[in-house]
Amino acid sequence: MVDGVGLAQPRPSSFGPLYDGPPIIEVRDLGISYGGKPALRDASFDIYRHEIFGIIGPANSGKTSFLRALNRMDDFTTGMEVRGSIHINGKDVNDWRNLYALRSRIGVVLPLPVGLPLSVYDNVAFSPRLRGIRKKAQLDEVVERCLTRAALWDEVKDRLGSLGSLLSGGQQQRLTIARALSQEPELLLLDEFSIAVDPVTTMRIEDVLKDLRSELTIVLVTNLVQQARRLADRTAFFLTGELVEIGATEDLFEGNVKDERTTGYIEGRYG
């Protein structure tokens, strides 16, 4: 694909299907800045279908900015500029004239859980309704399936009518995941999803994510390096706007690195 610094070739992972076919995301010479202040510089790498792609790095390293560039949220953010190119499924994200169509195919989970001030049911039915699904039976089916996938169904099946914004933080985060799944996305972007979630719930969500690998591709930004180790097939290390290294997660965690800073971060010497 590309001969770049630290670009590891994919290889069979210990727990999942082989990478095959072209990459789902191709990032080339990506630069992101806010009002001229760079947040990410010259990043080039590929993300493959059905992998969990981890991104680690201390605060201010450009991880969230990268996710925002993927679903073109720069359009909603004043001052955010994106250079270089990102292709998803072979199509440049800048070539999408209808950005809403692009975003509706990408599920996003943000650090702080956001239950919309609608009922639990309407939270999950929001995106299907945007897609034009109106039939009650069909919506019921989607809501139940997505809530079950997100490991929330049993807790809320008796209170689907109560407000999503009044669930507990951990429940709201799973509601957010159910909402993302209701988009039937090919790509799921998770930004430090466990920041406001207890360890038990985190583990439950992690299990869900592992199951989802067979259906979609996950980009997992995390500030817990051990979470990347548990979940990611490959991991990229960002440091103050620089893509320092990218490699098979096992390699990085076994000290098999090209750049000493990676080991330094993993062992807790930064941030």
């Binding site: 004043t78 809403y100 975003r103 943000l110 956001v114 919309l116 609608l118 945007l130």
Partner: protein
């Protein structure tokens, strides 16, 4: 360890003094309000009767009721609302939800805030020039209400914008991330959660217009019209202007009648405020986050 130091004690004393001073100021503020209301009720209440409310003035406005003025005020406020609310809410939606945050937008926002501070007599002259003369509405309910509408637009916009911005940004981001357009986000999440605030804000601000005199004086209010307005192109009496007339322009008006008019005017404003506050309390109970 657990004993108050001299510094602790001094802070405590100072805080008690500060509290006493602020409390005193509040009392000083409440006293004139109570005095005004008390005087109005004591001197005006004897004038109030069904007949006073529902008949026209007689004897050169030195006797009789206030019915045409009461009806005229309702006309003026309602027509002003119909003009200012749709425009104001739409403008606020644009400014808060669509407009990019750039120099032009900020300049417009600043202009709106400043417009709210323009004295009503200036609005009155503008309304006279624009609606009465230029658009040839003559002196009519339409011209007077549009003048009131122009005057209230900035406050409607500001009140609406504040309600919109009270809806957390995270809700919008969550919708956008799912591929919702700005309008879908507004319709499904932002408006349902701010409409209550918008309505209360609008009612509160607009209730003030019922008391305005200057803007309607040259544009549509008449001293004495013996019949009720039939359309927006008629001139009309209005409570505020009527009060101005009976208290300063006419002689031989019994004091009781003047106070009665003032009492009715204040009661209308307070009633609208009460409705809006009650509404707000009720809706706060339904708050969804």
């Amino acid at each position: 360890m657990f004993t108050a130091t001299a510094l602790n004690r001094r802070s405590y004393r100072r805080q008690s003094v500060a509290k006493a001073v602020f409390c005193l100021m509040t009392v000083a503020l409440v006293i004139p309000v109570l005095l005004i209301l008390g005087t109005l009720v004591v001197k005006g209440a004897p004038a109030i009767s069904w007949e006073f409310l529902f008949t026209a003035p007689t004897n050169n406005m030195t006797a009789g009721g206030i019915f045409p003025a009461l009806v005229g005020t309702i006309w003026l406020v309602v027509v002003a609302l119909l003009a200012s609310v749709p425009i104001g809410v739409a403008a606020a939606l644009y400014l808060s939800e669509y407009a990019p945050d750039n120099l032009l937008t900020r300049a417009i926002n600043l202009a709106i805030v400043n417009l709210a501070g323009v004295p009503s007599i200036v609005h009155a002259l503008f309304g006279f020039g624009a609606f009465v003369l230029f658009f040839r509405f003559n002196a009519s309910i339409l011209a007077a209400s549009l003048t009131l509408a122009v005057m209230t637009l900035p406050v409607v916009i500001v009140a609406t914008r504040e309600s919109l911005q009270a809806v957390p940004h995270a809700f919008r981001e969550a919708c956008w991330n799912m591929g919702a357009t700005r309008w879908q986000t507004i319709r499904k999440v932002v408006l349902p959660n701010s409409i209550s605030g918008i309505l209360t804000g609008v009612i509160l601000e607009v209730s003030r217009t019922s008391g305005e005199t200057a803007p309607i004086m040259f544009t549509g209010a008449a001293m004495f019209v013996p019949f009720l307005p039939q359309s927006v192109f008629d001139q009309t009496m209005a409570l505020s202007y009527h009060l101005y007339n009976v208290s300063t322009q006419l002689t031989d008006v019994p004091e009781e009648l003047t106070y009665g008019v003032a009492l009715v005017l204040i009661a209308i404003v307070l009633l609208m405020n009460a409705v809006s506050i009650g509404f707000r309390i009720y809706l706060r109970g339904l708050k969804k986050w």
